[in-house]
């Protein structure tokens, strides 16, 4: 894995790789080079399987992070490529022509994060939600609790407890000593 990164480092711009395990590594790449890297990894290095494509909302940095996790089954290696996108104009590059499954991931990202992938098949169609009109629900500026409160009625009399304090009260009523 390391050796692989060394080999590629000359031609592509990599961020600092994070090794979760020996066979699992995260590395940030430039958006413009993503396609080239993926193609090379797929065709030359044997990373034939797109394990997942997902996103992280770094609202504080005003960025979305796309994670392309690809897997080499022969060598049992998993490499995750991170690409940062601008949060305001969230548009990624479709890779459905490299892995057809990517189209489905991209539809999901479009719906849940509002990241567009122009050219991806059926990307504008509904994926899981039906008739969703609000902010994409996985964005961190979407307040799911507030939305839930404003949309679905509570049953009167329902109580909500913080699990930690509640269980403490139920199970260890006299802890710490003299608390009562």
């Amino acid at each position: 894995m390391r050796e692989l990164l060394y080999r590629l480092k000359d031609r592509y711009h990599f961020g600092t790789p994070t090794f979760q395990r020996d066979d699992l590594c995260f590395v940030t790449v430039k958006r413009s080079e993503l396609r080239a890297i993926l193609t090379e990894l797929r065709d030359v290095e044997g990373f034939t399987h797109l394990t997942l494509l997902t996103a992280v909302d770094w609202i504080e940095e005003q960025q979305f992070q796309l994670t392309y996790m690809i897997n080499n089954r022969e060598a049992n290696l998993t490499l995750a490529l991170r690409v940062m996108l601008d949060r305001e104009d969230a548009t990624g590059d479709t890779i459905h022509d490299l892995w057809p499954t990517a189209a489905t991931y991209q539809r999901e990202l479009r719906e849940m994060f509002g990241i567009n992938f122009p050219g991806s098949p059926r990307v504008d169609e509904e994926f899981i939600l039906e008739g969703w009109t609000d902010l994409p629900p996985y964005r961190r500026d979407f307040d799911t609790l507030a939305y839930s409160q404003q949309t679905y009625h509570d049953r009167p009399g329902r109580e909500t407890h913080d699990p930690k304090t509640h269980m403490q009260k139920v199970l260890y009523a006299d802890y710490p000593k003299g608390a009562k």
Binding site: G131, Q150, R155, R158
Partner: protein
């Protein structure tokens, strides 16, 4: 609730009608152009009716006895509770001995068991299935999710109170309730039916406007007729 963010305001946009339901023009074989209005042309527009009980009390009692001993459940599992219903068919619990059986089509079922949390998307299907069942029909809510949202109390996409949307005859508490609890629930339901108190369908018809308003408030892309016959 104290931790609700008051600054967040949900958007209430209209969802456009789906393409296949929009009125359109087609050309007939003789070249005439006709207007198709799918919702009106394909679906019956009649409202549900309140069906009175049989004239004679004896007959009605007999009917109720038969109904209570022949509960046909729609094989429709909505959440994790669906897995709790399977053991009922096994030798250990054997619900068949109580006249309970599962039917694959709503037309032949008269008991809808909402077996767990209902996402809005599933709610739409549950409503449709419920409305397609013949009267009298009964609804059982399974687990705390149907009662007050349960662990999905803050989900953006899961309803919290089933009885806002469908007339529930009986709730079974638990997360999830075990098959024994279900069996007990069925016995309770039988008692209710025999007493002639399981008139959920009539209640639904009486308060149809209210129920519909509640349903449409959460299902924004209401892409079906008001009442699914």
């Amino acid at each position: 609730m104290e931790d609700v963010d008051d600054k967040f305001l949900k958007k209430n946009k209209e969802v456009p009608l789906r393409e296949e339901l929009r009125p359109r023009k087609v050309t007939t074989p003789d070249g005439q152009e006709i207007e198709i209005e799918p919702l009106r042309d394909y679906f019956c527009e009649a409202q549900p009716k309140v069906h009175p009980k049989a004239y004679s009390k004896i007959v009605e009692d007999f009917y109720n006895w038969a109904r209570s001993n022949s509960l046909w459940i729609l094989g429709f599992g909505t959440g994790c509770g669906a897995i709790e219903m399977r053991p009922l068919m096994t030798p250990r619990f054997d619900a068949y001995r109580y006249g309970i059986q599962w039917r694959p089509t709503p037309r032949q079922a008269n008991l809808l068991v909402i077996s767990g949390y209902l996402s809005v998307k599933t709610l739409k299907r549950a409503i449709r299935a419920y409305e397609q069942m013949p009267q009298p029909k009964y609804v059982m809510g399974l687990g705390s999710c149907t009662i007050n949202g349960g662990m999905y109390w803050d989900s953006y996409n899961t309803i919290k109170r089933l009885d806002d949307y469908l007339p529930v005859d009986l709730y079974i508490a638990g997360c999830m309730p075990r098959p024994e609890a279900l069996l007990h629930g069925f016995m309770e339901l039988k008692q209710i039916i025999r007493k002639g108190e399981a008139e959920g369908a009539n209640k639904y018809a009486e308060n149809f406007a209210q129920y519909k308003a509640n349903q449409k408030a959460v299902i924004k892309d209401w892409d079906m007729p008001d009442y699914n016959w």
